[in-house]
C-alpha cells in the first residue's frame, strides 16, 4: 500500500500598522485591526469556508477514507475567533469526523526556534493547549514555522513527545534518496521524519493555473495516475490551505479538481489516505542527517527569506533582546504584543531578495517596500522598549502578595 498524506498550513499574521517615528512613546496601536479583519473575512469567504465545507463533504462521501491534517497558527485562530467564528465552527466539525488531524507548531508562527529555546517551548505549549481546547485533540506531530528544520529540531520534537516532525523533501538533502519514505532524524530513538514531496505538492500549489506549464490543465485523473505510478511508502502533499481559492482562484478550477481527487486516487486499490501520525506508525527506512537548517521557501530552501539581509537580522536581534525584560515584567499585554511581533511574516516583508524583480514576495507584502516594513517594525520595537521601562518588574512586592 502507498499512502497519500495531505497537510494544509493555515496561517494569518497580525499585520502591523505603518507605525511612524512620531508615534513612538505616544500609543501602542501596533496592529492594523481594520486590515486584519478585512483580510481574514476576505480569505474566509474565498478559501476557509468553502474549502472546509468541501473537505467535510469529501470525508462524508468517501465514508471517512479521505483524511487530511491541518496546522493552524494561533494568530490565525485568534483572528477567526474574532472576525470569522464560522470558520472555527467548521474546523470543529472537521475534528469530530475523526479523519482530521491537527498538528503542533509555534502559537505565533514564529522563528523562535532559531533565537530562543525557552520562548520556542512556551509557544509550542501554548499552541498545543489552544488546539486541545478548540478541537479536543493534542497534537502528536510537529511542524515548525515554514518547515524550518535541522537535526536539533528533530531531537527537540522527540523530547517534547511528538511522534513525527515534518520537513521539506529537498533534493540537496536527500541526494539519491526519495521523499516518499519514512525517515528518522539523526540522533533520535523513535520519532519519524516525514518529507514533503515538493514536486507534486507544487504542481497544485504553484503550477495549477499556469497556462505555460506543459501539464496544464491538471486534471484529478492525471494527477492520481502520477501518484499511483510512484513506488514508496507515502506521498506527502504539504501546502498552504490558502492555495484553495486564494492563491489559486476558484475560476482556475481548483475546487473541482479537489472535489474529484479523492475518488480518482481511491480508484487505485494500492492507495489509501493517511494522516501524518498514521504515517508515523510505519517503520523508517533510514536516518537522515540534516545539520544545516532548511525550509520550504523559495528556490534556496534556506532561511534567507527571513534572515537574509541586515534589516532582518537587526530586527530579529533587537526583538529577542527584549525577551528577558518582557518576561520579568508583569504586563500581559506587553508579552502578547512582543509575541505577535515574532510572526515570521513581518521578516518576510523585509526581504529584498527578489524585490527588484517584483515577484511572489511582493504579492504578500502589505507594505510598498521592504524598507517601509522594517521602518514600522523598528519604530514599534522602540515604543515597546519604552513601555518596558515604564512597567515595574515583577518584584518582591507582587511575589509577597501572591503568598
Amino acid at each position: 500500500m502507498t499512502s497519500v498524506c495531505i497537510y494544509f498550513q493555515v496561517h494569518q499574521p497580525f499585520r502591523m500598522t505603518s507605525y511612524r517615528v512620531f508615534d513612538i512613546g505616544k500609543h501602542a496601536n501596533y496592529f492594523d485591526e481594520k486590515k486584519n479583519e478585512e483580510i481574514t473575512k476576505k480569505v474566509a469567504a474565498k478559501c476557509y469556508l468553502p474549502a472546509n465545507k468541501l473537505m467535510l463533504d469529501l470525508i462524508a462521501k468517501t465514508n471517512g477514507k479521505f483524511k487530511i491534517a491541518y496546522s493552524i497558527s494561533g494568530t490565525a485562530l485568534e483572528q477567526f475567533e474574532r472576525y470569522a467564528p464560522e470558520v472555527i465552527e467548521l474546523f470543529k466539525e472537521l475534528a469530530k469526523t475523526g479523519c482530521v488531524e491537527f498538528l503542533g507548531e509555534t502559537y505565533y508562527h514564529s522563528l523562535s526556534f532559531l533565537y530562543s529555546q525557552k520562548e520556542f517551548e512556551e509557544q509550542v505549549k501554548k499552541h498545543d493547549k489552544k488546539i486541545k481546547e478548540l478541537f479536543g485533540q493534542r497534537p502528536r506531530v510537529f511542524r515548525n514555522t515554514e518547515l524550518i528544520y535541522n537535526n536539533e529540531l528533530g531531537k527537540f520534537a522527540e523530547k517534547m513527545g511528538y511522534k513525527a516532525v515534518l520537513a521539506e523533501g529537498w533534493d540537496r538533502i536527500l541526494e539519491w534518496r526519495s521523499p516518499n519514505f519514512v525517515y528518522m532524524p539523526v540522533g533520535t530513538k523513535k520519532i519519524k521524519l516525514l518529507l514533503k514531496n515538493y514536486k507534486l505538492s507544487d504542481d497544485i500549489a504553484f503550477r495549477f493555473s499556469n497556462r505555460d506549464w506543459v501539464e496544464w490543465p491538471l486534471t484529478a485523473e492525471k494527477f492520481a495516475a502520477w501518484i499511483s505510478a510512484i513506488q514508496g511508502q507515502t506521498i506527502n502533499l504539504f501546502m498552504d490551505y490558502e492555495t484553495i481559492g486564494e492563491h489559486q482562484w476558484e475560476e482556475t478550477g481548483i475546487f473541482d479538481f479537489l472535489k474529484c481527487l479523492p475518488f480518482e486516487l481511491l480508484k487505485y486499490s494500492h492507495i489509501e489516505f493517511k494522516t501524518p501520525s498514521e504515517v508515523a506508525d510505519m517503520d523508517a527506512v533510514a536516518t537522515l542527517d540534516i545539520p544545516n537548517t532548511i525550509s520550504w521557501a523559495d528556490m534556496e530552501r534556506d532561511l534567507s527569506a527571513w534572515t537574509g539581509n541586515k534589516m532582518q537580522q537587526s530586527a530579529l536581534q533587537e526583538l529577542y533582546k527584549l525577551e528577558s525584560a518582557i518576561k520579568k515584567s508583569s504586563d500581559k499585554k506587553l508579552l502578547e504584543d512582543w509575541r505577535k511581533l515574532q510572526t515570521s511574516d513581518h521578516f518576510y516583508y523585509m526581504c529584498v531578495k527578489y524585490f527588484s524583480d517584483g515577484d511572489v514576495h511582493k504579492y504578500f507584502n502589505p507594505y510598498d517596500t521592504p524598507y517601509e516594513s522594517y521602518l514600522a517594525f523598528m519604530n514599534i520595537l522602540n515604543d515597546l522598549a519604552i513601555r518596558i521601562k515604564k512597567t515595574p518588574a515583577k518584584g518582591l512586592f507582587s511575589r509577597l502578595l501572591r503568598k
Partner: protein, 397 residues
Amino acid sequence: MKVLMFGWEFAPIYSGGLGVACAGLTKGLVKHNVHVTFVIPKKKRDIQTHVNLISAAEIMEKIKTICIDSPLNPYLSSTAYSKLAEGFSDSLYGQNLFEEVHRFSEAATEIAKQESFDLIHAHDWMTYKAGLNAKKVSGKPLIVHVHATEFDRTGGNGVNQHVYDIEREGMHLADKVITVSNYTKKMVEKHYGVSPDKIEVVHNAVDWDSHNVEAPKITEKDKIVLFLGRITLQKGPDYFVEMAKKVSDIVPEAKFVVAGSGEMEARMIHRAAELGIGNKILFAGFLKGDDIERAYKMADVYVMPSVSEPFGITPLEAIKYGTPAIISKQSGVSEILKNTIKVDFWDIDKMANVVAGILKYPKLKETISEEALKELRKISWENSAKRCLEIYNQVIK
C-alpha cells in the same frame, strides 16, 4: 546613421538636468555607432566631446533683432537671474529668452543647409522651432524630446501661453515625440492633445563617471539630509523645509542642506527661521562640478520632493554615490526605481517619518543604498540610446 540634434545645454558646458541628459544620451548613441551633430546656442568652450559639437552663437550674432545683454536660462538656475527677471513683466521668462530662441531657430535653417543628416532630434521647447526649421529645409523627419513641459515648470499655475504654443506646435508637427517617462507621456496626451501612438517613452539613465572626491562630514555626529535642485515651485523646496522641522524634532543632530538657487530661496530662508530651524538648514547655493559629488557623498539621505518631475536624474546620482534616495511619487524616475521609498510630495508626515527612520536606523540606510546601487547598475544610457535608435529606425523608413 547621422543625427542633427538641437539642445540648449550640454554637460559639462552647463550641467543642468537637460545638459546632463543630452550628454548621457548622445554618449550612449555614439556607442551604437550613431553620428551626432549637436547644436547649442552658447559659445563653444574648448572641450573634448564625443559628438560633433556646433555652436550656433556665431550665426546667431549675425541675425540681429534686438541687442542681447546676457542669454537667459529657461530653467531659472540662479538667484542672479531671478533678480534680473524682476524687471520683466513676465514672471518666469524674460523677453530676451524668446528672442534668443527665435535667433537660434533662424540659425538652425543655415546649419541644416550645411550639414548632412538622416533625421533631426530636438530637446525641449527652446529648440523645437529650430527643429521645425531644419525639417522644413531638409525634408528629414523630426523627433521632439520632452524633458519637461510648461506644466511641470509652473505646477499648472501661470502657464506661459507663448511657451505652451511652441511646445504644442513642436509636438504636433514632429514625426514622433519622445518623453522621458510615462508620467510625462500622460501629461503630453492630456495637456497637449497628442495621440498616445505618436509618443514613445525613453527613460533617462545615469553616467558612471566619478571624480572620487573626498567628502568630509560637517562634524562626525552630524546627520545630513540633502535637497539638490532649483529652489522653485516645481522642485518642492517648501515641502522639504516643513519636513525638516518634523525630523529635527525627532533627530536633533540632523542637518539639512539645500543645494541650489532659485526664486523661492529667500522665502525658504524666512520659513526656516520662522520654524526655529534656521541653524539646522544650510543654504549652500548653486553647486557645480566636484561640489555636487561631494554633497551627495556627505549626505545620509537624499530627498527629491518634486511637485512634478518629468524624470529626475538626481536620485540616481545620489544612489551612485552610495546615498539612499527618497523620491516623490509625482516623478518619472519612480517608474524605474524600486529600491527607494516613494512619497506623495504633499505627504510631509510620511516623508519625515522615512527620513528620520533612515537617520535613526543604520541598517535601513545600509540595505537600501546597497540594493539601490545593485539596481542602478542595470540602468544605463546605452540601453536608453538603444531604445532611441529603435525609434529613429521607425521614423526613417
